[in-house]
């Protein structure tokens, strides 16, 4: 198991965003997390990456307890993430953005530049390499999010709604892109609202509602689970069907 969470709890004052969540992600798989808005998906990523301190419970990465580590230490261990709302370094070029994240893997600028170009090529952003981020489109910023997270050479990648806001044809391209990242080495956790995306990408899917796990299963079974339908479409809809 590359990532495990044990009885993870996160509360903000009286609101429990993550409620006793335990999960296991197998190495080399694509693991999907879905759930209505505010169900705790992004909070879960923030706990894994060390952005928020956990209230109780723990997270292990490759059987090592990473709870309480600082975000840059967790990045060093091999967890990368993208932000739901792209958070680029705006007054730097696309290439420089990716270079920053390669610095934990190389101490040479030349080497870093080379790594960054390779990654940009991989996400097909190499033509924009020398452009300031302020001048690129939303789609390219989403690609840059991905490129920058790849710069740290992660073994576990957390993708937080990389498709949100993209047009259908852009989504198609993005799916292709994530598929191409899928190698035995890289494990991916995808948070996404677009069901087609989740269903076509993931090996297993976990459904969150109010910070709790409703179910976890292979895609086909998840979409037919009555609890899932209830959480997504409401009591009345599920009663009618």
């Amino acid at each position: 198991m590359i990532l495990q969470s044990h009885d993870l709890v996160k509360s903000f004052g009286g609101v429990t965003a993550i409620n006793h969540l335990s999960l296991e992600v197998e190495k080399g798989t694509v693991f999907g997390i879905i759930g209505p808005n505010g169900s705790g998906k992004t909070t879960f990523f923030n706990l894994v990456t060390g952005m928020y301190p956990v209230t109780s419970g723990k997270v292990t990465f490759n059987d090592r307890n990473i709870t309480g580590l600082r975000p840059h230490q967790i990045a060093q261990l091999g967890i990368g993430r993208t932000f739901q709302i792209p958070a680029p370094f705006t007054k730097m070029t696309v290439l420089e953005n990716v270079m920053v994240s390669t610095f934990i893997r190389t101490s040479s600028l030349r080497e870093s530049r080379k790594m960054a170009w390779e990654i940009l090529e991989r996400v097909r952003l190499d033509e924009k390499g020398n452009t300031l981020v302020a001048n690129v489109t939303l789609e390219d910023r989403k690609r840059l999010e991905l490129a920058r997270s790849l710069g740290t050479c992660p073994t576990l990648l957390l993708l937080d709604e990389v498709m949100a806001g993209l047009t259908p044809s852009e989504v198609k391209g993005a799916i292709e892109l994530i598929r191409s990242l899928r190698t035995g080495e890289l494990t991916i956790i995808v948070v996404e609202h677009i069901m087609d995306v989740i269903l076509s990408l993931c090996d297993r899917i976990l459904v969150l509602d109010y910070g709790e796990k409703i179910t976890e299963d292979v895609p086909d079974k998840v979409v037919n689970n009555p609890d899932v339908i209830k959480a997504y479409l409401g009591e009345r809809y599920s009663a009618r069907h």
Partner: protein
């Protein structure tokens, strides 16, 4: 990959275009004292000092994006430490300077550890309070001479002070260029300014990098303070710890263009020249502050990239500044 082959290296101007103007500038600076009258040598020494001070502020304020309103404290601490080392311990000036730089830097790192987790106005207020605290302490301590100040041994040699100021200012700019414009450290610092959380998420140890940047930015004012004390020979809390010291550094950096290598240099020259010319014309007065105030308003409103922004595209500046040209096309 073929398409990108030319881009693997950072776009750089040809050596000649970059270094010929710089070499000329340095040559003029080196022979200047032999051409100018003593009064103008003193003016030039002041300009050099302010150019260095404005750049030191630019490291934390411009590159790192943390508005430090207590930066003058490091200048004052440097001035007093050189004075104390020379007077109380009896060690030579050079050793005093070294102590000034190192201790100012350590002080910044200590102050930075708790305050650098504040952002924007909160960091500005915290550092302003720190600067005020240092001034109050210098006013009551015995070792600093309290409000009476401190008299240093005098060395009446304008050339010596001109050249040492030139040396330290050149080192300030060289260090900024090498560490902020041409090294991993600089990229990390910029990443922190642009998006601190994202920087941390891609492995930048933001706390440590910010403390280092603050320590670096305080090292140079420490040294300049030491030189200033020996040059002026008499220091007191208002002359080396007054709020106007920080204000001028900030004004020069903003006027010239923050976050750029040559902006603070340009800003220091313009502010000092205006100030001195008005002084020559009208004598002692504070009217120049009004003019500078109006100029700052104009810069912030019309050329947010500073005076350096107006000179872009002339081919004299590094790629980072030519990147600035693109910025101007975008509405923020």
């Amino acid at each position: 990959m073929e398409v990108q082959a030319g881009n693997i290296e950072a776009p750089s101007l040809s050596l000649a275009r970059r270094f010929v103007p710089l070499g000329l500038l340095l040559l003029i600076a080196l022979i200047y004292p032999w051409l100018a009258v003593p009064l103008w040598i003193r003016f030039a020494t002041e300009i050099l000092m302010w150019a260095g001070l404005a750049q030191s502020w630019n490291i934390i304020g411009g590159y790192t994006g943390y508005l430090d309103f207590g930066h003058g404290a490091f200048f004052g601490v440097g001035a007093y430490i050189t004075g104390i080392v020379m007077l109380q311990i009896g060690w030579p000036f050079w050793i005093g300077l070294l102590f000034s730089g190192v201790l100012a830097s350590l002080l910044a790192m200590m102050i930075g550890y708790p305050t650098l987790r504040l952002r924007g106005a909160y960091f500005a207020i915290a550092t302003w309070a720190f600067g005020e605290m240092v001034r109050q302490i210098a006013t009551i301590l015995n070792v600093t001479g309290g409000a009476d100040g401190m008299q240093l041994p005098s060395l009446l040699n304008d050339l010596f002070f001109y050249y040492i100021m030139l040396l330290v200012t050149a080192l300030t700019y060289l260090t900024t260029y090498l560490l902020l414009d041409r090294a991993r450290f600089g990229y990390k610092v910029l990443a922190i300014r642009e998006h601190e959380e994202a920087a941390e998420m891609v492995g930048v140890n933001t706390v440590w990098i910010k403390i280092q940047a603050f320590g670096l930015s305080a090292f140079f004012p420490g040294i300049f303070g030491g030189i200033f004390a020996y040059w002026i020979t008499y220091i007191h809390p208002d002359s080396v710890l007054g709020a106007q010291l920080t204000d001028f550094m900030v004004v020069m950096a903003f006027l010239g263009g923050i976050g750029s290598l040559w902006g603070p240099f340009l800003g220091a020259i313009v502010v000092q020249l205006v100030q001195r010319i008005l002084w020559l014309v009208w004598g002692e007065g504070t009217f120049y502050l009004v003019i500078i105030g109006v100029a700052i308003c104009a810069v912030v409103l019309f050329i947010p990239n500073g005076l350096i922004g107006l000179l872009e595209g002339t081919g004299l500046f590094s790629p980072r500044e030519s990147v600035n040209q693109l910025k101007k096309k975008i509405k923020w």
